[in-house]
Symmetry: C2
Subunit: 428 residues, 2 copies
């Protein structure tokens, strides 16, 4: 071995040492993160059911926006920056992620959902994981290099627990940092934390929604587990171009709504009030509350929601666009929560529409849309391909990969996380 190789030599004992250290450090991170995520998911479910029972709560949206504004004003400091702060701190540990971020984002997200804002969960979970990891780092007085790793672990744990997808959580935490690459620093610490946090969350008796793809493909005995059909692949590619463009539209619209409301509404506290009023107005215009809240399931059996997007009949051809607008206004005008569940909604309903348009299996395209719009908006095609497997099983891996890779190409370079490093052009 040459000297350049020697420099890179790592003894198995050093690796075991590293892994034992990170297994131990991952325990507090995942116990706290997993438990808070469980509390968050439980509160979210309660808030959603309360809203179904008392639809009048929607009228409280403008006031709740004011409350959220005020909570961040008195308690927030730099916590307002949310996911971007966590990503920034991983790139360059500095100011630190404040521990108060966790309760703040948890409470304000539940408020957003209780009063019918259209938002998600992953942002909240990532911020809970990130801030609790930062707190553990402080307690154990970790150095900068270790702070980077523990923050990634927090992101992995929060993401893995909130969606019940541990492998996706680990890869997402590494892939989200930059556009165009995954770096394997902290591969195992992230996977360990993500697995632990998911177990902790499940141990609190939290159930994740199950999805089913009935479509089994053409049985081709030469390719075990892969049932591929050329025409269907072409349809998936066309649909995935639409998924990528929808990701881009969502990112650009949210950016612009944020920018324009700052510019035209001089008093910052009026932004969420105005946002709440617009959501109320839109809800009454379209005469349905299907686009408020999380949208995984709905108050009625025939609601437009993610679960129903997996079969034909309930989704309107413009459902994806309505959810996109509702969410861009909610998140662009000061309410809290993640973007990912709405992206699942947008993708699954757009997939439903594209399937009917192209004559493809509805459940398959809903599943591909579910992961591909998310892949495009966050520039994480590999994590999202893995998510397809964790949520829907491995049978349709080829379609998942095509969907996520294609959406990644067509989603532009904006993305929903401004702090993501832009390492390279998507095409050269």
């Amino acid at each position: 071995m040459g000297s350049s190789q020697q420099k890179f030599y790592t003894s198995p004992l050093a690796v075991i040492n590293h892994l034992v250290k990170w297994t131990l450090l991952s325990i507090p991170v995942s116990v706290i993160t997993g438990s808070l995520v469980a509390l968050f998911l439980w509160s979210l479910e309660e808030a959603t059911h309360l809203r179904y029972e008392f639809p009048i709560l929607l009228w409280g949206l403008p006031a709740s926006g004011l409350l959220i504004y005020w909570l961040y004003k008195i308690g927030g400091k730099n916590a307002e920056a949310g996911n971007n702060l966590v990503i920034d701190e991983i790139h360059k540990p500095g100011a630190g992620v404040p521990a108060r971020m966790a309760p703040l984002v948890l409470i304000t997200t539940v408020i957003t959902h209780l009063f019918g804002g259209s938002a998600g969960r992953e942002g909240t979970a990532v911020q809970i994981g990130g801030s609790m990891a930062a707190w553990v780092a402080k307690v154990f007085k970790l150095g900068n290099q270790d702070v980077k790793i523990i923050l990634m672990c927090g992101v992995a744990g929060g993401f893995g627990a909130v969606f019940g997808t541990p492998v996706t959580g680990a890869v997402f935490a590494l892939e989200v940092l930059a556009i165009g690459s995954v770096q394997y620093i902290a591969l195992l610490p992230c996977l360990i934390t993500s697995l632990f946090a998911n177990w902790v969350c499940i141990s609190w008796n939290i159930h994740h929604t199950q999805y089913n793809i009935l479509f089994e493909g053409s049985h081709d005995e030469w390719i075990p587990y892969l049932h591929v059909d050329v025409l269907l692949i072409l349809k998936v590619v066309i649909a995935s171009i639409a998924f990528g463009l929808a990701s881009n539209l969502f990112a650009v619209l949210t950016h612009n709504i944020k920018h324009l409301s700052k510019k035209f509404i001089k008093k910052a506290y009026l932004v969420p009030v105005a946002g709440g009023l617009v959501i109320i107005l839109l809800t009454y215009l379209i005469q349905t509350t299907d686009y408020n809240g999380l949208g995984v399931s709905g108050p009625f059996p025939d609601s437009v929601n993610i679960v129903n997007a997996f079969h034909a009949g309930n989704v309107e051809y413009y459902s994806w666009l309505l959810k996109l607008v509702f969410t861009a206004i909610t998140l662009g005008m000061g309410f809290k929560g993640g973007e990912v569940t709405p992206l699942f909604f947008i993708g699954a309903t757009l997939g439903n529409t594209m399937a009917l348009l192209l004559g493809a299996p509805v459940d398959l395209l809903a599943a591909v849309g579910f992961i591909a719009v998310f892949a495009g908006a966050t520039n994480t095609p590999i994590a999202c391909t893995l998510m397809g497997i964790e949520l829907f099983g491995g049978t349709h891996l080829v379609y998942f990969a095509i969907g996520c890779f294609t959406a990644y190409y067509f989603s532009g370079h904006t993305g929903i996380y401004a702090s993501q490093k832009k390492l390279m052009q998507k095409i050269v």
Copy 2:
């Protein structure tokens, strides 16, 4: 959008343009590569059956080594560098990958297998793909940037076709270039070529071996498709440390055998002759031909081979080590073929042994070993996790990820490809 964002803007039309161009370019690459890989797989099967029928062929191994030496001497030029030449050219297009590499490596690999050398297939397929892609690049007079992409496509196509795993092929082509990262340049062109090449190969009526994992895990309704068991995870981690160390041992032993035979056998043409003699001697010492050739299946129902490693009863506890030694000698002393199928053999048999030792499901640990030893030796943990899904289905994704990631940590920085860039330490 700020100016730093503008710089990265890519219009959907430019992306479509890029993808149409690469879809068209991938057609000749995948038709030629897929067909040659099909011819190669067919020849391999014929050679293997001939060897089963006429065991006396083993005595021809030293002479066949001389023939291979002579073939590369008169026709080889820089083709001798094999996979490393392809990787070097992707990093820095220069001297070019000669088209003669394809027939040379195809013929010499079949010779190696016919006379009972212990070798694999992926190296041959990657070199066929790489050299044919380089030839297409020459015909179309592509520039350096496009040569890089088309070479990656060739690698993806060769790999995807030879194992029937298109998604793995695409990710492998990107992941193998450097230790510690995947860069997404050419993500879709690689996937397109890999899918096409696999179809072409299948259309020639080539069948890939099917593996089955009967173990279904503890049914845990909270995690759809993922059936996780803490104790079993711990067992998988321990086994995977062994897998990683086995990868490292293989890489180091092959390097050293190559180095020492160069040093002590002054006449270069005598190296493969000596190698052939050692393989004959070893075969007669252990009284079985189970460790010659590919090892996917065997001449007898109770042979030690990859398929039989998936259930208890046929594999010896030292089978993995015998295959490791046979392969290191074969490839370290001038015979041709890939390393990956022997790595599958080493991993599956070591997994079999570890399963009996640890009291874990034999088929599960054989499958994890199959992909994890390969992940460690090539430093491609994500491609190998995906390969687990493509070969064995998505149910055991968590174990596949744990196995491949852990083996990656414990396999050192040597790897079987000397040209792989060493971007970072595995632990920090």
